[in-house]
């Protein structure tokens, strides 16, 4: 286990290092002055330029420069945004939780809906339940996220008018930001109409969560269904029936665990897909998350912000992946056979 842990931490360290190298290189590859790209300060005077060159150790060669960049990155000095002149790290800390919140809820919804549906379909293989679940999931699977989001807005916000179409919470409420997670903040906030605000925030959550989770949910359904079908046709399930166990006993003691554990990594990988989709959905629903923020940065050629956002999102994805890997390792016995990381 220790060797395994060491290997994974090693992997984590080097992936993050490579990410840092890539982001540092980007500053030189982007058009414009590398100094501006690194710091986000438009250079106005020779004096200031000299100061920044000192700060980023640009005159001491690439290695020393990168070392300095690494130190600054770790201490949270990610430079300033070119357009707003806000510190990028603070911006990311503000916007990333909003995206995380959205993706987490979407993930939770798709697992809570997808796994039971997948199991139901798998257990009723080749019957009407299976076929109807499968065809519905195929429709969900093949719909592009942005189109689905627009469709949902069209139906639920414009035609019916029951649900809001943009933002995290109605503009009339003012929520002080602690953690960045809207629901947590509302529960913590010291406001008198808490219930009302909470309902409003939930209303705002419904459409983005739905449009994100429909695609992921159908993926989860298909994964779970396939795995359940394979497991239920396997020899040890037949052997369990031959032992004289009932259908429910067989499923809960032998089927469930073997069906869900092997697909856990794939289910967890959906989180990264979700995060990508979340960026698109955020733009459509004007959700103030990292995706929308990065889109703005890309439109305005705000190179320091693009670099920082890329670093933050990819580091998050890498960390989540490795954590899931470790988690699965501790609970799934068969995975102990493999020592090396798999993609």
């Amino acid at each position: 286990m220790l060797v395994y842990l060491g290997r994974r931490l090693n992997l984590l360290f080097f992936t993050l290092l490579i990410l840092c190298i890539a982001s540092y290189t980007l500053a030189f590859l982007f058009p414009g002055d590398p100094l501006t790209n690194l710091s986000g300060n438009p250079i106005s005077s020779e004096d200031q330029a000299q100061q920044l060159r000192m700060m980023y150790a640009l005159d001491d060669g690439y290695i020393a420069g990168f070392w300095q960049y690494l130190k600054l990155t770790l201490s949270g000095e990610w430079g300033l945004s070119l357009t707003s002149q806000n510190p990028i790290f603070a911006d990311i800390c503000q916007f990333l939780p909003a995206s995380l919140e959205l993706s987490l809820y979407a993930m939770a919804v798709s697992l809570l809906v997808g796994i039971p549906l997948g199991i139901a379909a798998g257990l009723n293989h080749r019957r009407y339940t299976d076929m109807s679940i499968l065809s519905v999931s195929l429709v969900g699977f093949s719909m592009p996220v942005f189109w689905l989001a627009l469709l949902l807005i069209l139906i639920f916000s414009l035609q019916w008018g029951g649900l809001p179409m943009s933002g995290r919470v109605s503009l009339i409420y003012e929520i002080p930001q602690y953690s960045g997670f809207m629901l947590v903040d509302i529960l913590q906030a010291d406001i008198d109409n808490k219930k009302q605000v909470l309902m409003d925030a939930l209303h705002h959550l419904i459409l983005p969560t739905l449009s994100l989770s429909i695609v992921t949910c159908s993926l989860v359904v298909r994964l779970t269904r396939r795995s359940v079908i394979n497991v239920m046709a396997s020899d040890y399930i037949k052997a369990a029936y031959a032992k004289g166990l009932s259908r429910t006993q067989v499923f809960w003691h032998h089927g469930m665990k073997n069906a869900l554990l092997p697909i856990m990594p794939q289910l967890a990988m959906q989180f990264t897909v979700l995060l990508t989709n979340a960026m698109i959905v955020e733009v459509i629903f004007s959700w103030p998350g990292i995706g929308e923020w990065m889109m703005q940065a890309i439109y305005q050629r705000d190179f320091p912000a693009i670099r920082g956002g890329m670093l933050a999102v990819s580091a998050l994805v890498v960390i989540v992946t490795i954590c899931v890997d470790l988690l699965i390792r501790t609970i799934y016995p068969l995975s102990k056979k493999q020592l090396h990381a798999q993609v």
């Binding site: 046709a233 037949k238 665990k257 073997n258 016995p333």
Partner: protein, 331 residues
């Protein structure tokens, strides 16, 4: 009354080409205290017979039978829970490839303790019962020849060797004190000494605990040492069944004769370096079954009548299905 009595068991597999009869009118009966061998080459449907007896079927298989009785009760027409109760307490099975028949994500301890029915425990509190289960499991493992029971029970199936898994499967089948043990190739892959030990254990249980055994195997030597009676399958049809001694001395069906001849240890008159005899060709696949007697294309005695399925004929306890049996030539 026989313990298990099966008449005209037919198993059809739903394939893209339509229903295929993988088992065609199998007859099989086991008396209590009897050791019956079920013999046939690979692909003859031995394992399918085993699976249809214990109900471990895929949903694409349809089983029909004129009679499938356990102690006079019909297994096919009874409710699921009744049938489960019988398979749980009275019939045990060792399936082929025990390593794949064990749940990969549960330890062997969990799996063997699952096979011990609550009715076998006599202590009251749950910790006492747990203790008792552990002891029973360990004892049973010693009996089948696994010495280090703690290590074995703490392992997962992928961590133990193939022959340990085989022995473990046997222990798991025997721990519930069954009336009938169905053993599908129980000594496969074992070295000769352990094989003898396992066979001896089965023979002992047969004598002392009145355990009936349906012994499915290719191993004619082990069978002739163990079994009282034998049923020979070919390609999903029962070709001959009867007393072991009778069948060995005077097989009536050409296939039984070919099968016995193919084992050199049964032939005393075989000169050194003589060519071993075997039937030409191979067993037909399920997609290309011949009509009538399925041995037809390979049978040295086949004639025009063989395209019709021969009726089962019987001389005392000896059943055979052949138009032109050996030793009984029509003159």
């Amino acid at each position: 009354m026989p313990l298990l009595d099966i008449k005209n068991l037919t198993l059809e597999i739903d394939t893209p080409l339509g229903l295929v009869k993988a088992l065609d009118k199998i007859n099989l009966s086991i008396d209590s205290r009897e050791v019956r061998a079920l013999v046939g080459e690979s692909g003859s449907g031995k394992s399918l017979v085993v699976k249809s007896i214990v109900g471990a079927l895929s949903d694409r298989w349809q089983v029909t039978a004129d009679r499938m009785n356990w102690k006079g009760q019909d297994l096919l027409s009874m409710s699921d829970s009744q049938r489960r109760a019988i398979t749980r307490s009275e019939i045990s099975v060792v399936l082929q490839n025990p390593a794949t028949a064990l749940d990969p994500s549960a330890t062997l301890r969990e799996q063997i303790e699952e096979s011990i029915a609550d009715s076998q425990l006599d202590k009251g509190w749950f910790w006492q019962r747990r203790q008792q289960r552990r002891e029973m499991a360990a004892q049973q493992l010693h009996k089948v020849g696994i010495r280090d029971h703690d290590l074995c029970l703490a392992s997962y199936p992928h961590q133990v060797a193939e022959d340990i898994a085989q022995k473990f499967a046997l222990a798991m089948a025997l721990v519930s004190n069954p009336k009938l043990l169905i053993a599908d190739n129980p000594t496969m892959g074992m070295e000769p000494t352990t094989k003898v030990q396992v066979l001896r254990l089965l023979a002992k249980l047969n004598k002392t605990r009145e355990l009936s055994i349906l012994f499915v195997s290719h191993d004619l030597l082990a069978i002739s040492a163990m079994a009282d009676t034998m049923t020979v399958l070919y390609c999903g049809q029962t070709v001959e069944s009867g007393k072991m001694s009778q069948l060995k001395r005077r097989p009536l069906h050409p296939y039984t004769k070919a099968l016995l001849d193919s084992a050199p240890s049964f032939r005393r008159d075989l000169p050194p370096k003589a060519a071993l005899s075997c039937l030409d060709g191979t067993i037909p696949t399920l997609q290309h079954l011949p009509i009538g007697c399925r041995l037809g294309p390979r049978c040295p005695r086949a004639q025009k009548e063989c395209v019709k399925m021969p009726d089962v004929r019987r001389i005392h306890d000896h059943h055979y299905a052949c138009h032109f049996p050996l030793h009984r030539d029509k003159t």
